[in-house]
């Protein structure tokens, strides 16, 4: 089970080897990987919209999409169809070429970062030895796309949104990169596969510097992909829809796709860098399958026939998994953790109101940036002094400096005003 996709791919390549010359096989292998990512990304995006709408709805005591298909599962398809056949409006006086190019420029880097993501054991499209650097370089292209889109629309709201977006992305890039430095220091490699393997003994999030870095990286990531509470570039109450005000139809869908893929990528990279990637405790697979039997059996919305079939399938595969002594596969761990973080993103959106611009910038420059610098020192202590004393020192340094930074950023609250000359 663990190597399911790897075995699948190599067998397809072997099958192709019967007809194709030897030299073509690496290209077949590459093409298969690219095709898998390119096909999975839109599906991930479509079902992220469904997931987001469902979770938000439940937080607001609603049901969410439930009309198209079971649990509204066909809703993303219906939305996609609607987007495809909608009229594409380009504003008068817009820079037509750049206006059409911008959503593409937004989607391509969002797809490209998936190349260095280790989805499971041996499941990485390209284990570059500079994987992390590649991720940082490619993911920051999205600020160009946002500014292109905002500028080319010839709309004040778009331009304002784009400028906010660029300011925000550039500001949060700094703490985001500096928080990753500690991972590179401890793992001693920039390769994503290497970083995951360095966490075999202990996930980085369970160290003091790792915990702080994970928080900063994730929150900066939330800000970089313009999600609530950092969604100033598309603040509806102020600037309509920000940089994508003038987009409709499939171009708008592409903006959304870029946004959701980036949100997924941020969750996935947080998992890879700090939450152990595809590593996970060896829980027997049949436990999970037994749990899903309970879920399927108690789901009242599903027709009885499907429920019986689902229970039979789960029990059958559970018995097989028990006999084969299978553990939960590595890619399942990776996806479970990533979707856990996606849930956190949606949870933020369901809870937190939008920040002010000065609060947003203050958080990046006055809190995250100094804290990441101190965090690097803390990780240095950890590396230099192996053993409990280093850990205690590193933790104490972080707690003290965190407390100090909070104090610095929050001057004493204003006292009730006393009026001297008014009686």
């Amino acid at each position: 089970m663990d190597q399911l996709f790897v075995v699948l791919k190599s067998s397809v390549v072997q099958l192709a080897g019967r007809w194709l010359p030897e030299g073509a096989l690496p290209f077949v292998s590459m093409g298969l990987t690219i095709a898998a990512i390119a096909a999975a990304a839109p599906v991930i995006m479509m079902y992220l919209t469904w997931l987001e709408r469902k979770i938000i709805a439940r937080m607001q005591n609603r049901l969410g999409p439930n009309r198209v298909g079971l649990y509204g599962l066909a809703q993303p398809l219906a939305d996609g169809l609607k987007m495809l056949i909608k009229e594409d409006i380009v504003p008068e006086g817009a820079d037509r070429l750049v206006h059409s190019l911008a959503p593409v420029v937004a989607v391509v880097p969002a797809l490209l970062v998936f190349a260095v993501l280790p989805f499971g054991r041996n499941m990485i499209a390209a284990d570059l030895n500079v994987g992390l650097l590649y991720f940082l370089a490619v993911s920051s292209i999205s600020s160009y796309a946002i500014f292109m889109g905002g500028w080319a629309s010839r709309n004040k709201f778009s331009l304002l949104g784009a400028m906010r977006g660029v300011a925000q992305i550039i500001s949060y890039e700094v703490p985001s990169v500096l928080s990753i430095v500690v991972v590179i220091m401890v793992a001693g490699t920039l390769s994503m596969g290497g970083i995951v393997e360095a966490q075999a003994a202990r996930w980085f999030v369970f160290t003091p510097w790792g915990f702080v870095a994970a928080l900063i990286f994730f929150l900066s990531g939330v800000a970089e992909v313009n999600r609530t509470p950092f969604d100033m570039p598309e603040a509806e109450s102020e600037i309509v829809a920000g940089f994508h005000t003038e987009y409709s139809g499939m171009k708008f869908a592409l903006w959304y796709m870029a946004e959701f893929l980036e949100a997924f990528a941020i969750s996935a990279f947080t998992v890879t860098l700090f939450l152990g990637g595809w590593q996970g405790p060896a829980i027997p697979l049949w436990w999970v399958l037994f749990g899903s039997v309970c879920l399927v059996a108690t789901a009242r919305t599903i027709p009885t026939v499907l429920r019986v079939l689902g229970v039979v399938a789960c029990v059958g595969s559970g018995v097989v998994a028990y006999l084969a002594n299978e553990a939960v596969p590595s890619w399942a761990w990776f996806l479970a953790k990533t979707y856990g973080l996606v849930f956190v993103l949606v949870w933020f959106r369901g809870t937190l109101p939008r920040l002010r611009v000065d609060q947003l910038m203050g958080l990046a420059w006055k809190f995250f940036l100094p804290l990441t610098l101190i965090n690097i020192a803390s990780a240095a202590l950890w590396v230099a002094m192996p053993g409990p004393s280093g850990g205690v020192l590193a933790g104490a340094l972080l707690i003290l400096s965190g407390w100090w930074l909070i104090r610095l950023n929050n001057p004493a609250p204003l006292q009730p005003r006393t009026y001297l000359f008014v009686e």
Binding site: N61, R62, N66, G350, T351, L352
Partner: protein, 197 residues
């Protein structure tokens, strides 16, 4: 302490999220926490909301006993008073000589059309009607595909029995019935001259 507010807010949304699932409610009760408000969605086409008796949407014409015995005498007060002017009345019906035709002792309209797409459900027509001939209905599924063929309700479509009125709005209907009965009693018994000794 800074940040506690954010955590509290996150807990509220998480609680409401969990409280919409049976397993989540079980978990929350085990934790001793409030289970939130739960789902309040009414899945509309399958489940219909129970409306209050005073809920009103669109007027209808009341008839007693049989559809030709409608209370409306085509006085056109409602047509004049209607703020969006969605009522159109032709009548009262007349014969060739121009004398008003009567059914059950009353004149009656030839045409009585109300445009449902213009009506704003204000109930002024009901208030101004001296004969209690028009009342508010609570049926609200009034959508159609054709602007004029389906959205303009004719007299035949508007006519509904007094029993229907009593069924949808018992309180209001009984008040109207009492008023009409009192009026009928007054006209049936002309004032008696004082008995001379």
């Amino acid at each position: 302490m800074i940040g506690i507010g954010v955590l509290k807010g996150l807990w509220v949304t998480l609680r409401e999220f969990l409280g919409t699932y049976p397993a989540g409610r079980w978990l929350l009760t085990r934790l001793g926490a409030s289970t939130g408000q739960g789902l309040f969605t009414i899945e509309y086409p399958e489940v219909k909301q129970q409306h209050a008796e005073r809920h009103r949407v669109f007027p209808f014409l009341v008839y007693d006993a049989s559809p030709d015995n409608l209370r409306c005498v085509a006085c056109k007060i409602c047509e004049q008073e209607c703020p969006p002017q969605c009522i159109h009345i032709v009548g009262p019906a007349k014969d060739e000589q121009g004398r008003p035709l009567k059914a059950h002792g009353r004149t009656f309209p030839v045409k009585f059309d109300i445009d449902v797409s213009i009506c704003m459900s204000c109930r002024i027509c009901v208030d101004v009607c001296p004969f209690d001939a028009i009342e508010m209905d609570n049926a609200h599924e009034l959508s159609g595909f054709d602007r004029f063929a389906e959205m303009v309700y004719t007299k035949e479509q508007l006519l509904k029995s007094n029993e229907y009125f009593q069924q949808i709005k018992p309180t209001e209907a009984s008040v109207v019935d009492q008023r009409l009965a009192a009026k009928a009693a007054k006209t049936a018994m002309p004032p008696q001259p004082a008995a001379s000794p």
